[in-house]
Amino acid sequence: MIDHLDVMMPWALLSGGILITLLVSVIRVDTKRPAQISAVITLLATLISCLGLLQVPAETVFSGIVEISPLTHFILALFSAIGILFILGGDRYLNKEGLHLSDYYHLLLILILGASALTCSKDLVVTFISLEVMSLPAYTLTGFRRNDSRSNEAAIKYYILGGAIGAVFLLGTSFMFGATGSTNLNTIFTWSQSGHSDMVIFGMGHLLILIAFMFKVAAAPFHFWKPDVYEGAPTPVTGIMATVVTTAAFVTLVRLIHIVDFNNPSWATYAVTVKHVIRWMAALSLIVGSAVIITQKNLKRMLAYSSISHTGYLLLGVLGSLGKGEEIQSVMIYLFGYTLMTSGIFALMSQSEPKADTGIELIDLTGLMKRSPIQTMLWSIFFFSMAGMPFTVGFFTKYFVFMSSIGSGETPLVVLAALCTVVSAYAYMRPIALMVMRDADPTAANWNSGFWSQIVAVAAAAGVVFLGVMPNAMIQYLKGIPLIH
C-alpha cells in the first residue's frame, strides 16, 4: 500500500492543483484569472510543502519505481518557484500576444509535474512516461501561438524530433530490459555490479538512453532543434524550457549515466567509451555554442546557442563526476545558477514589444541605456553572469565545473572551455555594447516593464549578484544533496 503519502505531499498537491486548474479552465469564463490564480496557489502550496520536506531522508515509494529524496524535493521546489516566476512575469506578454488562455496554466503545471516526476523516477518505464508527460505540454506550449506559423513550425519540429527520440529512448530501455531483465534502476545497478553476460546489448541500450537525454539537454550534435524551437516558442515558454526542462533532463541524464557501476573493473572499457562520448559532446557543444552564438542576431536564438554552450560546461561537470557520484554538486550548482540567470533574462525579454514579427532581435536593445538605465543594468548583470564574470553567480558555476573536470584529468578540455568562454563572452558583451554605446535604432522594440516581470527580473538579478558574492549557503546546501544512491 502507499504508506509514504506524507513525503509525496507536494506531488499530490500539484496533481490536485492540476485537476482544479483543469476544472477551472473547463468552466468557460471571460477572464482567465481563476486559472491563473489556481495555478499560482497550486505552485505556492507545492513550493511550501516541498520546503517543509527538504530535510526528509531519501526513501523509495511505489515499490521502488520512484524515489523521493531531498534532491527531488529541492528540484520540485525550484520548479514551482520558477513556475510562479514565469506565470507572474509572463502575464503581460500573454495578454499582449493574445495568448492568455486558461489552458496555458494547466499545461504549465503538467509540464512541471512531468519534469519533477522525471527526476524522481527510479524505473526506466516511469522515466519514459514522465518524459512524455513533460514533453507533450512542452510541444503544445511551443505551438501556443496558434496563429503564428513560426510557432507552429517550432512545435512540429520539436514534436517530430522529440517523438523520434522518445522512441530511441524506449529502444534503449528495451535493450536494457533485454540485457538485465528489469527496468528498475536499482536492479540494473546491482546487475552491473555482478552480471557479465549481454554487456554489448546493455551497452547499446545505455548509449541509446544517453543519446536520448543528450538530445533533451541539446548537446551537440543533437542540438539542432533547440535554436528553432526557442525562436518559435512564446517567450515565457522558451524560458520554462530553458530552465525546467533542461534542469530535469540534466538531473536525469546524470542519474542514468550512473546506473552502471563504473568503479567495477569489468566496465572499464565501457567507462572509457562513455567518457569519450561525453568528452566529444562537451567539446562539440562548447564549440558549436560559442562559435555560432556570435553570428546570431535574434536574441532568443542567441540564448539557444548560449544554452548549448552551457550544456557543454555542464557536460564538463558530468565528466568530472563520472564514477564519483558524490562530486555531482558541480552540475547542481551550475544548473541552479544557470536557472536563476535564465529566468531573469526571459523575464526581461518578455517585456519587449518588438516591431518586427520575427521576434526580439539584438537591434531592439540599442540605446536602452538612454531609455531605461535600470533595464540596462539588469541585462548587464545577466550577461556578465552568463560570461562568468566575478561577483555574479556565473563565476562560481564555472568554477565548480572547471575544478571538477580538472580533477578528473580533463585539463585540455578545460582550456578549450576557457577559450570558448572568451568567444561567447564576446557575444554577451555585444548586446551590452549596443545598449550602452549606441543610440536607439528607429526599428528597435519598445520596452515596457510590467510590474511583475520587473519584480522577477530584479529578484533574479539580486540573486545572481548575491550568490556571486556570498555563495556559501548555496554551495553548502547543494553539496549536501546526493543525487545518486
Partner: protein, 488 residues
C-alpha cells in the same frame, strides 16, 4: 603583527564612496569625487605611512599587515590580504590616480555623473582588492571586476570607435585572464592532490610549486604570463591598447595606463615569479627579449603617432617594457627597480594624460603633424607639461631615471644585448616625447581662440596644485629614490 582593521578599511571605504555617490546631487559629483578620493588618499597614506616612510627595509617589515577573512570556506576561498611595501605603494598610487582622474572636467560630469563617480570608486575598490590580495582566486576576481566599470566607462563616455575598441580590449584581456584562471585551478587542484586541502593561498601554492618539476609547471606559467603580458601589455600582446586608449574618456585612459597596467606588474611580481621561479628562469631568455622588443617597437610606433593620446599610449607600452625588463631580470634588485619605475610611470603617465587633457580643453583639434605653438599662451601649463615630458624621457633627477637606470643596471648582467636594445628606447623616447611637446607648444605663433565655450585661461589653481603635488613626488623621488627601494 598589526590589527587587521586597516585592510578591510582600504576596501570598504571606496565601496562607501560608491554608495554615497548615489545620494549626492548630480551637480556636485565632481566636487564629491575629488573630496572623497582625496580623503581616501589621505587615509590610505596615513594607514600605510609606516610602510611608505620606513627608514629601512627591515623597519618596513614590521609594518606588514596580513589579514585573512574567510569567504567561501567550502572551497577554500578566503579574502587574504597583505599590505607590504609593494602593495602599499600601489594602493596609494591607485587612490592618487583616482584623484587625478576625478579631477578632470568633461562630459562624464554632465552625462550620468553619478554613474561615473560610482564606477570610479568601484575601480578603486577592485584595484585595491587586487593589489592587496594574496589569494589567487580573490586576486582573479578583483582583476576581472576591474573590467566591468572600465567597459562601461569607455562605452558610455568614450569617443567615436568605442564599441569595437572596448570589445577588443575586453576580449583580449579576458582571454588572458581566463587562461590564468585555468592555471590557477590547475595549481589549486594539484595542491589539493598533494596536500588534501583546497587553498589558493599564494603561500601554500609556493610551497607546493617549489617541490614540482619546473618543466611540468610550464603550462600554468604560460597561463599566468598570458594574462599579465596582455594586461601590461608586452609586444606582441598589445593589439587592444591603442584604440581603447584613444577612444576612452580621459579619466578612463588615465586609469588604464596609470594603474590598470600595474595589475600586470604586480601579478608578475607577486604571483608569477614566486610561483614559478625556476620555470621563469628557464624562459628568461625570451622574456627579456620580449621586454626589450616592447620598448623599442612601441617607441617606434610612438614616433609615428600624430595623435597625442596614441603617442602617449605607445610611450606607455615602451616604459612598461622597462618595468618588465627589470622584473624579468629575476633578481630582487631588478624587481625593486621595476617597482620604482612603475611608481614613476604611474605618476608620469597620469600627469601627462591629465595635462594633455588640459591642452585639449583649450584647443580642440590637436594633430601632431603640424606645430601648434600653444606654449606662450599658457606658460604655466606648458612648463608643467614640459617637466612631465622630461620625467617621461627619464632625465636624471626624476623618479623615472632612478627606475630606468637601476632596471637597466640590473638587467645588464642578464643580457647585455637586450639592455643595449632597451637603451635605444631611451633615445627614441626622447625623439617622440620631444615631438609631442614641440608640436603642441612650440614652432608657431598661435593666437588664443576667440570662440566662446573654450577655455582660454592658463591652468587653474586647483589643477596646478594637483600637478605640483605629482611633480614634487616625481622630483623628490628622483633625488631620494631610496624611499621606494625597500625591496619586495
Amino acid at each position: 603583527m598589526e590589527t587587521s582593521s586597516s585592510l578591510s578599511f582600504l576596501l570598504t571605504l571606496p565601496l562607501i564612496g560608491v554608495l554615497i555617490a548615489w545620494v549626492m546631487p548630480k551637480a556636485v559629483q565632481r566636487l564629491y569625487a575629488i573630496f572623497g578620493s582625496a580623503l581616501i588618499l589621505a587615509l590610505t597614506v596615513y594607514e600605510t605611512s609606516g610602510l611608505l616612510f620606513a627608514k629601512s627595509a627591515d623597519l618596513a617589515k614590521t609594518f606588514v599587515v596580513d589579514q585573512k577573512l574567510s569567504w567561501v570556506p567550502e572551497i577554500g576561498f578566503s579574502l587574504s590580504l597583505r599590505l607590504d611595501s609593494v602593495s602599499a605603494w600601489f594602493v596609494v598610487l591607485n587612490t592618487l590616480v583616482a584623484l587625478v582622474a576625478f579631477s578632470l572636467r568633461g562630459v562624464w560630469y554632465r552625462k550620468y555623473p553619478r554613474l561615473f563617480t560610482s564606477f570610479g570608486f568601484f575601480l578603486v575598490f577592485a584595484l585595491n582588492a587586487a593589489f592587496l590580495s594574496t589569494d589567487l582566486i580573490t586576486f582573479y576576481l578583483a582583476y576581472e571586476a576591474v573590467f566591468i566599470p572600465m567597459i562601461f566607462m569607455v562605452g558610455i563616455w568614450g569617443e567615436n570607435q568605442k564599441a569595437a575598441s572596448v570589445l577588443r580590449f575586453f576580449i583580449m584581456s579576458f582571454l588572458g585572464s581566463i587562461l590564468m584562471l585555468v592555471s590557477i585551478f590547475y595549481l589549486v587542484y594539484l595542491n589539493h592532490e598533494a596536500s588534501g586541502v583546497y587553498s589558493a593561498q599564494i603561500t601554500d601554492l609556493i610551497h607546493f610549486t617549489a617541490t614540482q618539476d619546473p618543466v611540468k609547471l610550464c603550462w600554468p606559467f604560460m597561463g599566468f604570463f598570458a594574462a599579465f603580458a596582455i594586461k601590461v601589455p608586452l609586444v606582441p600582446f598589445h593589439g587592444w591598447l591603442k584604440d581603447v586608449y584613444t577612444n576612452a574618456p580621459m579619466p578612463g585612459t588615465i586609469w588604464m595606463s596609470g594603474i590598470l597596467s600595474k595589475l600586470g606588474v604586480i601579478g608578475m611580481i607577486r604571483f608569477v615569479l614566486p610561483l614559478f621561479p625556476q620555470t621563469a628562469a628557464m624562459h628568461q631568455g625570451w622574456l627579456v627579449t620580449l621586454a626589450a622588443i616592447s620598448i623599442v617597437y612601441a617607441a617606434l610606433l610612438a614616433i609615428r603617432s600624430n595623435d597625442g593620446k596614441s603617442l602617449l599610449a605607445y610611450s606607455s607600452i615602451s616604459h612598461l617594457g622597462f618595468v618588465m625588463l627589470g622584473i624579468f631580470s629575476l633578481k630582487s634588485n631588478g624587481i625593486t627597480a621595476a617597482i620604482l619605475l612603475s611608481v614613476g610611470h604611474t605618476l608620469v603617465s597620469a600627469l601627462l594624460f591629465f595635462l594633455y587633457h588640459q591642452v585639449e580643453e583649450r584647443q580642440a583639434e590637436l594633430n601632431l603633424e603640424s606645430p601648434h605653438g600653444l606654449a606662450p599662451l599658457y606658460p604655466v601649463l606648458f612648463v608643467s607639461l614640459f617637466v612631465s615630458v622630461l620625467a617621461s624621457v627619464s632625465l636624471p633627477g626624476t623618479l623615472n631615471f632612478g627606475g630606468e637606470f637601476l632596471v637597466l643596471l640590473n638587467a645588464y648582467p642578464v643580457s647585455a644585448l637586450c639592455t643595449i636594445l632597451s637603451g635605444l628606447g631611451v633615445i627614441l623616447g626622447a625623439v617622440y616625447m620631444l615631438k609631442f611637446y614641440q608640436q603642441l607648444g612650440l614652432g608657431s605663433d598661435a593666437q588664443k581662440p576667440t570662440s566662446s565655450g573654450v577655455i582660454t585661461k592658463d591652468i587653474g589653481a586647483y589643477d596646478l596644485v594637483l600637478v605640483l603635488m605629482l611633480l614634487s613626488v616625481i622630483v623628490y623621488g628622483g633625488l631620494q629614490p631610496a624611499m621606494f627601494l625597500k625591496g619586495n
